[in-house]
Amino acid sequence: MTESRSTAAVVRATMATVVHEPVVAIMLVAAFFDGISGNPIHALLLGGVAIVLGRDIALGEPNPPIPLVERGMWIPGGWTVAAFSAAFALVVGAFPRYSWPATVGVVAAAAAAIAVAWRGPLVVHADPGPLPRRGVVAWSTVLVAGALWELEALLLQPSLTLDSQQHPTISTLTDPVLSTHAGRTLIMLAWLLVGWFLMRQ
């Protein structure tokens, strides 16, 4: 951070970042809609990360993305992560969805992962370089179509907070599974392992 920059300059640069950096803009829009859907904790997470990330980008990334393994950080092995994740999922999954204990556990895991991702990538990977336009368009089309299909189902509900069996969102479809301890444990374990996979990219 450069101390010579005035607060107004930082605010202007942050606003410019929000406009030009799609990640920040997407997170702010998602935070807004999560907020008006009655999910203040989700909105705080998304909005908070968006604001700090926008400021971070505006100021310039303070250190190059050196993989954490090269900075001497201990990276647990796959089996250690799997065992810890299974224990975590078993304990936290015992609590009902949307209860405070489940909320605290999931928010703690999420915050820890974001904090680690902020510091840098976990491991070294060769930069794949620019990807073929055709491939990027193909993946983008499928992923955006999936997001729009989910959004369409959400907007066809009676309200943002009332589920519809006629137009179920993915959340609505998973409700029966997540109503049991075993289901919550399995889905939470899958969530944690996907997070570990993402952090190693």
């Binding site: 990330l53 993305p65 909320t103 999931v106 990977h125």
Partner: protein
């Protein structure tokens, strides 16, 4: 076919399309990158890396947290 079935079919089509793209990425000389390659490209800088991990974090909150 009910509205429910059409909606579920839509999700299934998206999943199948992802599987097809991933399979196409395995062919020699293909111009379709694999999903992992796509992720590594997106996550090579801090905004992409933090953005992807935040999206993952949000999913966990969405399913479990109040």
């Amino acid at each position: 076919m009910s509205s429910h079935d059409v909606t579920v079919l839509g999700y299934a089509v998206v999943v199948v399309a992802c599987v097809v793209l991933q399979l196409l990425s395995l062919r020699p000389g293909t111009r379709i990158p694999g999903f992992t390659t796509l992720l590594r490209r997106v996550m090579r800088g801090r905004p992409g890396r933090v953005g992807v991990i935040t999206a993952w974090a949000w999913l966990g909150l969405h399913f479990f947290a109040r």
